[in-house]
């Protein structure tokens, strides 16, 4: 048993090493954002929130934040409106066509965001379209769509077709079925997918880099600010971005975890009332 214990100790050490590697940079950024000094070097003399106050007065940043939210919300709405019907339709239809549809929807995951960005840029050029927040939203929809489909598809895998049959037997039409059975059961997954899509769009710089017109999103603004070196203000901004992303991802995870099973198994406890 001692060798097993030694092995698990090694695994635990490895685990913490990986966690450290992943999170140490984030911790450093948050730490320096709270540093009172102008330059980001150790040791930290005094903690203060002055850089956050500076940030709150920075018009460029606030404007970019607004743009980012507009783009993210737009991308969320578009990708959910595209992805949910696709996932539901593919699931109902099933078979090879359904799998192929899901496969196509997931394909953008397999292509580097850089390529997606330059492809869209080329396409927009061919179409003679102006680069604007709209084009960024378009690009972000493309990034978000696979994740929305993936989340919904996973949730639909546990969907009991007998629920649909029961509803149809009781006289529900297709619309009523969708509205009263399918969508409520998918609501947690849709919420989680939307939150995930929001995070993806909110953090993206690669696609935005190519598709941004005059209006900058927040990551693009950070990118631009980085050219003048790392300032404490930038650290504060990064810390806030991390916070928003982490909270959104956490919320998505909680939503999915708390979602009840959607099988119509006879052992389902909620059925008795």
């Amino acid at each position: 048993m001692t060798s097993a214990r030694a092995a698990s100790a090694v695994l635990a050490a490895w685990y913490w090493l990986v966690i450290g590697f992943l999170f140490a940079p984030l911790v450093v950024v948050v730490l320096f954002s709270l540093n009172d000094a102008e330059v980001s070097i150790l040791p930290i003399r005094a903690l203060s929130s002055r850089w956050y106050a500076v940030l709150m007065k920075d018009q460029t940043v606030l404007h970019a934040l607004g743009n980012s939210i507009i783009v993210a919300v737009g991308a969320v709405i578009a990708s959910v409106l595209l992805g949910a019907p696709l996932a539901i339709g593919a699931h109902r239809h099933g078979g090879k066509v359904g799998r192929a549809l899901v496969g196509f929807a997931l394909a953008p995951m397999m292509i580097p965001a850089l390529i997606l960005g330059v492809s869209l840029l080329t396409l927009l050029n061919v179409l003679n379209a102006q680069l604007s927040l709209l084009s960024v939203t378009l690009g972000h929809t493309l990034i978000c769509l696979p994740y929305v489909v993936l989340v919904l598809d996973a949730r639909l895998a546990g969907y009991d077709p007998r629920l649909d049959e029961a509803a149809l037997d009781l006289g529900a039409g297709p619309l009523m079925l969708l509205w009263t059975i399918t969508l409520p059961l998918l609501a947690p997954a849709i919420t989680a997918a939307a939150l995930l899509a929001f995070t993806l769009s909110f953090d993206d710089v690669v696609v935005a880099f190519f598709l941004t017109g005059r209006e900058n999103t927040l990551p693009m603004t950070i990118w631009a600010m980085l050219r003048y070196g790392i300032t404490p203000e930038l650290n504060a901004l990064a810390a806030l971005t991390i916070l928003v992303s982490a909270l959104t991802a956490l919320l998505a995870e909680i939503t999915l975890r708390n979602a009840r099973s959607i099988s119509a198994h006879p052992n389902l406890k909620e059925t008795s009332s």
Binding site: P112, V118, L150, V206
Partner: protein, 344 residues
């Protein structure tokens, strides 16, 4: 005394005829010889046997009385526990002597097995199938011959809770069986567990098909379809990774060996998917190299980005982009071709 196998196993016999023989030597007889020579540990069996008998009598599964005793393991409807019961009963019988009737099988074709230790003192082989039934005769010879070296660390008879039962029972039962670990005869698998499990599933399916499909041609077609399914590592993973880990543990594999021979091979689809998902953003990265890389850290992503963001050489940039897409596509195609890619 003859023990008849309740399952028609003619298809299994067919499989046996075509299967590759195990390269490992069979240690069954050696182990038994060791036991007979007193090098193994009979006392553990004795303790267990007495314990089992007392409990079986108390629970009403065992009608006490020397001479003709009766065991009705299915009585409480607990299929899985019947294995433990039968095992215990047999052990008790070995130690205490006497004869035992074991009724088993489903209601319509319930069979009675008579084991008379006094009249027939040679060790019996008890093999338990997925429904708590005994598998005897051909099935055992087949298992013993092809995949399993049975190491008997000490036992009054060749009581084998076979791999199949380890594969089929729920975790609960296996935990209980592990609790009486010294009692459970350890079988060490000869070939690699993945292949072994595949073969066992195949045999099991063969037996089921024999029982349910009377037409030989239809049965053969069905068998072929199952063979196709079973031959891809992925279906085996889908069918039984949890059971395999359990079975490998029961067969005496160490944690490390279980990981290397069961978990890792069956997880390869996920590992490869993960690798591709890391490779894709990495090959297209240009922000990270620009921020963290020095002047020499010019990656293909930076070059492409420069064509579109700096020098406006769109055709050249597009060509490079197509190159990257082709690279990713080739990788994905290889992964798909080897059946090793899975989403979610």
């Amino acid at each position: 005394m003859t023990l008849r196998d309740p399952i028609p196993y003619d298809h299994v016999a067919e499989l046996v005829a075509t299967a590759e023989p195990s390269k490992q030597p069979l240690v069954l007889h050696d182990a038994w010889r060791d036991y007979a020579a007193g090098t193994a540990r009979p006392y553990a069996w004795k303790t267990f046997a007495l314990y089992a008998r007392r409990n079986l009598v108390r629970s009403g599964h065992w009608t006490a009385g020397r001479g003709r005793e009766k065991l009705t393991p299915w009585q409480e409807g607990a299929r899985a526990s019947s294995r433990v019961l039968v095992l215990g009963a047999y052990a008790a019988l070995r130690v205490c002597g006497g004869a035992l009737e074991i009724e088993h099988g489903p209601h319509e074709k319930r069979q009675t097995i008579h084991i008379d230790i006094d009249a027939d003192p040679k060790p019996h082989t008890l093999l338990f199938g997925s429904h708590g039934e005994f598998l005897t005769g051909e099935a055992i010879r087949w298992c013993a011959r092809y995949w399993i070296n049975l190491l008997l660390p000490g036992g009054p008879g060749r009581i084998i809770t076979m791999v199949e039962s380890a594969l089929e029972t729920n975790t609960n039962t296996m935990t209980r069986m592990r609790d009486i670990d010294p009692m459970i005869i350890r079988a060490q698998c000869a070939a690699d567990p993945v292949k072994m499990a595949r073969e066992i599933v195949r045999a099991k399916i063969g037996a089921e098909l024999n029982a349910t499909i009377p037409d030989a041609d239809a049965r053969k077609r069905e068998c072929e379809q199952w063979d196709i399914k079973l031959n891809s590592a992925r279906s085996v993973a889908e069918i039984m990774i949890g059971r395999l880990i359990e079975a490998a543990g029961d067969l005496g594999a160490s944690q490390w060996r279980i990981f290397l021979t069961v978990v890792l091979p069956l997880s390869m689809p996920g590992v490869i998917t993960g690798a591709i998902f890391v490779f894709v953003p990495a090959v297209g990265a240009f922000v990270t190299p620009e921020l963290l890389g020095g002047p020499d850290a010019n990656m293909i992503g930076n070059v492409i980005a420069d064509q579109f963001g700096g020098t406006f050489e769109y055709p050249f940039g597009s060509a490079l982009a197509v190159l990257v897409i082709a690279l990713v596509a080739i990788l994905v195609a290889i992964a798909l071709r080897r059946g090793r890619l899975s989403f979610a």
